[in-house]
């Protein structure tokens, strides 16, 4: 199952001749960083990395912010038509992005935000917040009503209720959402493909999908291209493993 990953790791440290001479299964002779360096520079990886980090962080924060506010109204405030709202919001998450893209493309060009990271951040945050609203409002609905009513009677206004009580109480759920949103937006491909045209704005996923010339034409450099695409994800995986597993279990039950 993990064998393909092992293959690209092994073969990224070889020279071309090594690969052709000894085959893909032989262990690399020395930690030859040439292929990796070449691909890093060819696709200006550091710029792409910066963009991916900026976008993913912003989306995670913004999407959580929007979800918090909306779920607060639906889950705690129990506004009328709550289930209608939730299904409505959830549709944004289930339906294909292609159905939204052309009008959005036109709209953002109109306001001059085309080819900016901000456009991608806004669009993706709003789409993800539909899931966040669905998730958080069921979390909030399960909160102890007496606690909330006690707070209201004690005279705290809604903003205080939200930030002093609800947010601290829902930290586990918020951290799950943060990890999910961060990873999902890191992996986003279609929206960045359409909206980020110039080299300086593109994310890692776009760089990965570009033509061979950005990856070098040799077998080792193409393996290296795949490898530097995988490594950040492995890091995230190791860092966020626990939160991820908690989240997937919770998400499936809901």
């Amino acid at each position: 199952m993990l064998f393909p990953f092992a293959l690209i790791t092994n073969n990224s440290f070889k020279t071309e001749t090594e690969y052709y001479a000894n085959g893909p299964y032989s262990l690399f002779k020395s930690l030859n960083l040439d292929a990796l360096k070449k691909v890093w520079n060819l696709m200006t990886y550091s710029i792409k990395l910066r963009n991916s980090i900026v976008i993913s962080l912003s989306v995670a924060l913004l999407a959580i912010g929007i979800s918090l506010l909306t779920a607060f109204a639906l889950g705690i405030g129990k506004v009328k038509g709550k289930s209608f709202f939730i299904v409505f919001f959830l549709m944004a998450f289930l339906l294909p992005q292609e159905v939204l893209v052309y009008p959005l493309y036109y709209l953002f060009k109109l306001v001059g935000l085309y080819d900016t990271r901000l456009s991608v951040i806004i669009i993706i945050s709003v789409l993800y917040s539909s899931f966040g609203t669905y998730f958080l409002s069921s979390v909030f609905s399960a909160f102890n009503r007496e606690l909330i009513e006690a707070a209201e009677l004690d005279g705290c206004n809604k903003l205080q209720l939200l930030f002093r009580i609800i947010v601290p109480l829902s930290m586990p759920s918020l951290s799950i959402l943060f990890v999910f949103f961060f990873i999902w937006s890191w992996n986003e491909f279609f929206i960045p493909l359409i909206f980020l045209v110039s080299n300086d704005n593109q994310t890692i996923t776009i760089a990965m999908a570009m033509a061979q010339d950005q990856h070098g034409t040799t077998v080792t450099s193409q393996s290296a291209a795949a490898l530097i695409g995988v490594i950040p994800c492995i890091i995230f995986f190791v860092l966020f493993q626990r939160t991820l597993t908690k989240g997937i279990t919770l998400g499936s039950i809901k």
Partner: protein, 313 residues
């Protein structure tokens, strides 16, 4: 701090407080709803309207009624894209779900019992890793492995004398779609696996007592008791996977770009081609509208089925 005495005036006070506060909650909906209207509702409606026009993206759209839909019906690319998508949905939903069920059972019963959680977590993590990596990165990894001249697969086949099995995997019409299928199955296994392992953890072991007394084998136990018990999770997995595979875009973009010919064209990629390469915005909108309707129907149908099952069971 003195304990408040909630006696007679409690009910009145609570009612008053909650009704006045209920009004105040609407305001928290405003940012979300406004953004939602702007980024989702408006574009969705605009897209549907565009599907009835002919437009190149510049100038004004021209109303053409159902012309695009008629065109779609007689367009072999249109049908090919949905046929390919259907094949992908069937393969990539059923096979990983079945494998996930079996593996989850195996890991849960055998591995956790004999080797403890650490090893089990390692296995689970290993299978789940492809779900964390971007689809396009996995795509170029598989493109590298399946490269016809120096890729690992063909080199290995040649090394063991099985030359004649070597193919231009992504490049020839007969093997392109199956190759994408295999790749997507490999990518998808981790998802049902993780969900089913979690599902197994919520089953009360006592339900097995009767079966164990009767001397049921592990497999019998698993099929007749366990699987029906985790039906909700199976349901969620199947529904979300179907929708996910229907929307697949990156997998095709980075490996075959819809070719060769019509072998791997899918609706999402086909609409992309019409929007941004052929400047047939109206037609692209038609394709996406149809795709959206199908996904919407699938979602609604499944949810109806599930609520019915919940009411019965």
């Amino acid at each position: 701090m003195t304990h408040k005495d909630y006696s007679n005036n409690t009910k009145i006070a609570t009612l008053k407080a909650s009704s006045s506060l209920k009004k105040g909650y609407m305001v928290f909906l405003i940012p979300g709803v406004l953004l939602f209207l702007l980024i989702f509702v408006f574009p969705l409606l605009a897209n549907v309207v565009l599907s009835f026009t002919r437009w190149s993206g510049i100038g004004t759209p021209v109303w053409v009624g159902f012309a695009n839909y008629m065109k779609a019906i007689s367009d072999s690319n249109f049908w090919a894209s949905f046929k390919n998508s259907l094949l992908l949905v069937i393969a990539v939903t059923t096979i990983p779900t079945l494998i996930g069920l079996l593996l989850a059972g195996f890991i849960f019963e055998r591995i956790i019992a004999k080797f403890g959680r650490g090893i089990a977590n390692f296995f689970r993590g290993g299978f789940y890793l492809p779900q964390i990596v971007p689809v396009v990165v996995l795509g170029i990894m598989w493109r590298w492995i399946l490269q016809p001249n120096w890729g690992v697969l063909n080199l290995s086949l040649k090394a063991v004398g099985l030359d004649m099995l070597a193919r231009n995997w992504f490049g020839s019409a007969s093997t392109a779609l199956p190759s994408i299928m295999m790749m997507m199955i490999w990518m998808q296994i981790g998802y049902p696996l993780v969900i089913f392992i979690a599902a197994l953890q919520r089953i009360d072991p006592t339900v097995y007592e009767a079966a164990d007394l009767d001397g049921a084998s592990w497999l019998q136990r698993y099929f007749y008791i366990t699987i029906p018990l985790i039906r909700p999770e199976i349901f969620v997995v199947v529904l979300t996977t179907i929708i996910y595979v229907f929307k697949a875009f990156g997998q095709v973009y980075v490996t075959t770009k819809g070719g060769p010919g019509q072998a791997t064209i899918v609706p999402s990629y086909f609409s992309y081609q019409n929007f941004f390469q052929r400047s047939l915005v109206g037609y692209g909108a038609t394709i996406t509208t149809v795709l959206t309707i199908i996904i919407g129907l699938v979602a609604v149908g499944f949810i109806r089925m599930q609520t019915k099952q919940e009411q019965e069971g």
